[in-house]
Symmetry: D2
Subunit: 348 residues, 4 copies
């Protein structure tokens, strides 16, 4: 059994990790760390876990094989500074501290987008789990980037559920404000843009996933890499706040000058994700709830006005956070990638 | 023009007052008081008022004819203590400070349920505006109480929108918690029970609204009254939190031993509310959105298992708060009760 | 592997069965029957199943070990009349055809409320799966009935999600009508009342679950039984339509004259459900989403005004339909009751 | 008093017209036509109108001064063919029959976007009321088009409430489907694109609204016009279905090569809408509910990545349909444009 510790245990992503890992056949949850709630039963905070666990929040971990960091952005780095983790303990960071600055002391973080970096992740000790918007957008663009078909700027609108904003209540997560409401925030400036750009460069340098990959190149490309030589287009990204709790719906398009036919392009997407157990290309249009409460991503591809138009949907807390984190853990520990992640969707 | 001052101007009920009073033909808003936001344009806080007003929050009022107190419960009393209002200035308190303890210095407060105390309100200087749950429940019971038909205990479930919980964000108003969720709170102990009991006693002592009323009796009954002699049944009240923003849906029933027929009973309800421009008895079942964004109340009456079953709906911010407050103001200043309150419902 | 056939495969409860059974370790889905959609891939109708199954709707079954009937009410009986099922094929009916009239030819149906009839279900061939409202209300009352503590009438309000109304679009399931809306329907006359009454009588005759039970008596009590001698109180039940998709929140109370203390009463509930893997008694108040997308039921018990007040929550499509149906299947085939039903809740 | 007839009286836009016109000081509703519901009280269908009107649906009109056509698209033309309207009777069509083909017999229709065609509308007899998406997008682009600043393609995502899909229930308006869901439809091909293009050409030929306009030119430009000479950019428009009932949120951007400063550009928007009582340019970001249940439109303008980014919000049933129709009526009958349209917003 993999001994797991979860740090920052009272938040949304920690709750989702618990919901998954309590049912994971290869995991023993050793500790759920919360400095503020130590001593409180976990099921008192995550009320839906009643009857499923006797775990109690604690303020210390013991000898975990892997530690999940579910901390506010910026706090993962502090945690590693203040805690002397054994070198053997793997780290999966759900924050954004190491996505773009992947080195911390001896630890080098791989960007944990399984569909791109599957092989690297299998052999690495530290994963920077991707952001939720980044995941939904990247899954829509990776096949294009890998085949050098991403040459013109990209136009993205993506709408997110309220859980993306975290547990702390505030003006824009107040029910009276948010219900039936739509708004735009951080237009063209969202902090996930950097990891999107870095990762597209990495995908472009790696090429089609079916190609034999030189891991050394991949690592460089993904992390500290020589992207300079790749001429990446601008990503115009308008994030929107939706009046639902779970999920991201991304709609994106870019100029389509391809010499290949539309059918071939769609086939290219399907081939690219063939090895991926959670990403599917739908021939019919998709709607967000088809993935809610699952670790799946669905894509749909169309062609209009000289553009290729891709819609991409994920559950922001699962494929966009805790589900993907477990998928990374599975890879790191040599398990089947999908172990414990065959979740029943809520559908409605 | 009636010169109005609104105290506690940044909250939900103040916002609703502004939305009504800016369109009221007989009102001039003299000041909108907020100690924390003085100097800020009102439309920066109540963003939907953009283009409708140049008012700026201030921390002082001048010579209002009437002052609306939109303060947290308990703070109205403090406000009156700390501010030396001219004796001529009328007061309408939207909090609960004077509903059950209606005397403050020289000021005596009438319980501002227009359908019961219309005549008193016309001649009074101070109104304690009823609570939202109290309004919805009382409108369902007044005709029974007035005809001495309320003899056995009452069973009430009522579900409220999130705006009833005010503007301050918290756990149970967080969108991620509340969306798609239902819960019970303060079961059998809600603070509105006292004003419900007091008012039913008052209604019982007044009798049918069409009877000639001795105002002296009414005042006593309504406020400091001789309810002791009236044997009032228990109100079993289970309040529920709904996942919508506006409105209260109350479902209540009590033993029906009446010698009158069901048709006569329904007619009794219709007659009771005949003088009331905002309360209607529907022959068809009702649904909450039929009153949202209006000052109306709708009732439906049925008979089952030896019970009379009444459903009662209001918009908690309008008939349950700011709309009723303006209705009271209209009565106090000799205007038609409905002035400025013929609001277009949102319906959807 | 248990060979399963699902009849009426395009509806909501069939979709939920598929979501569960595709992940069930002991099940092989042999056929999904739909007369109208034969030939269509299942994942084209239940779009969230994309990537999870290659099943295609068909109009015939082969040799299932068990058949789930997910048909409109009244159609299960027709199906059995028109189809010559092998005697060895077990039947689980999710409709209401056999809940109150449990005999059809040689087939005798047990009322499939696992927490009451666990032992009978283990040895039976035919199950009438309980209604969703009935399940939520009965779970709140069983411990009282079993201990002869249910002596006075019961007051119930219960609010249901839109999936309870099925897939066919109509006026009261139109989003523009239902969003932000609340209404009452079938007040005091809901069709589940009969199965509630029958089952309470059965529970009363069985007594505490921990007692040794004579299966012969149980069968009689549950189905064709001698309830005449048990003096059951009236259930006053007001069903409400909520503006959410999944779940039932039931709030019910009845006179509490018990000689036992409140603590003892709560302990009685906990003991009653001790053998049940999905029912839990919470010491804290509960909210609906704590069970959504799970097969769990949560209860909370309080005492006020001489009443015992119970809140009870389930997911109407799971514990209230398809989840409970699989729980019944597990019992019928000698599996652990919870197999395949340890579902990750959606929580938000 | 203006005598009004409403044709197609049972639908959503007719309901909104009624909600507005029943409170309009200069209107007498002569008839509400419904072939299917003749004889039924209007308030039985539009249930929120209970207590507000005794009107009964009829199948014939008498001598209206103006007739509002609230028919399914394509049916307005049939109606005019089958009914011999007096030449003096004005027509306001809320469908799309005459937006792009503005001539029917002797009747020539002006495109009823008040902010562009105010003067024409004042003197015309027939108005083709704009579509809801078209209104929200055009209001965001008119100032650019008028100043010849719209030279490169436009990227639009706009999300609409469920009332935009009409009253007839269907799969994508089923609450169980739509709640918490997001989807794209008619990507790049929405039928409003043509009226958007035609109107932008018209705006370009008219120029800044403050300029003196030759009505003859305007009419030509707006309807049958010489747009050929204007080189209009492509509009890339992705419509989305939102999980709310009312409103459209449009987010659009286009290349900004302007020689003017950003401040000047924002001032240009403000100046353009200075004569318009319902359109405002906000200095702060906007959220949809700031306009819900009002006839207002709010705009916000920002600059990023060489683009000018505009967000534009309206209530689809008001400024996007019935509100704008009444605004047109006001203009046609020489009333103040805002008469009867100073609606209290719902805000929450």
């Amino acid at each position: 059994m993999i001994k797991v510790s979860i740090v920052g245990g009272t938040g949304y992503t920690a709750g989702e990790l618990l919901r998954i890992l309590l049912r994971h056949p290869n995991v023993h949850i050793e500790s759920v760390i919360s400095s503020t709630s130590a001593g409180t039963p976990v099921a008192e905070m995550h009320r839906d876990l009643m009857g499923e666990t006797d775990l109690v929040f604690t303020d210390r971990f013991h000898q975990p094989d892997v530690i999940f960091l579910c901390l506010g952005h910026g706090l993962s780095r502090s945690f590693l500074q203040e805690n002397d983790l054994p070198a053997t303990c793997r780290v999966i960071d759900l924050g954004n501290d190491f996505r773009n600055e992947p080195v911390f002391g001896d630890r080098e973080f791989v960007f944990g987008l399984c569909e791109l970096n599957r092989e690297q992740i299998r052999s690495c000790h530290n994963v920077a789990n991707p952001g939720c918007f980044a995941t939904s957008i990247l899954l829509g663009l990776l096949p294009l980037a890998a085949h050098s078909l991403l040459r013109d700027e990209v136009h993205v609108h993506a709408i997110t559920g309220s859980t993306g904003a975290g547990k702390r209540p505030g003006e824009t997560t107040h029910f009276s404000y948010r219900d039936g409401n739509i708004s735009v925030y951080k237009a063209f400036t969202h902090q996930h843009l950097e990891e999107i750009r870095r990762t597209l460069a990495s995908a472009a340098s790696i090429g089609p996933a079916t190609k034999k990959v030189n891991p050394e190149n991949v690592l460089n490309a993904g992390n500290s890499g020589n992207q300079a030589s790749i001429d990446l287009p601008v990503i115009n990204f308008v994030p929107m706040r939706g009046d639902f709790t779970r999920g991201i719906f991304a709609s994106l398009y870019t100029r389509w000058n391809g010499t290949m036919s539309e059918t071939e392009a769609i086939q290219l997407f399907k081939s690219y994700y063939e090895p991926s157990p959670f990403v599917f290309v739908s021939d019919q249009p998709i709607s967000l709830k088809e993935v809610v409460n699952t670790n799946k991503a669905l894509l749909h591809v169309g062609f209009h006005n000289g553009y290729i138009h891709i819609t991409s949907i994920i559950d922001n807390l699962l494929k966009g956070a805790s589900g993907q984190a477990v998928q990374n853990m599975n890879l790191m520990f040599g398990l089947d990638e999908a172990t414990g992640l065959q979740l029943k969707g809520s559908a409605f």
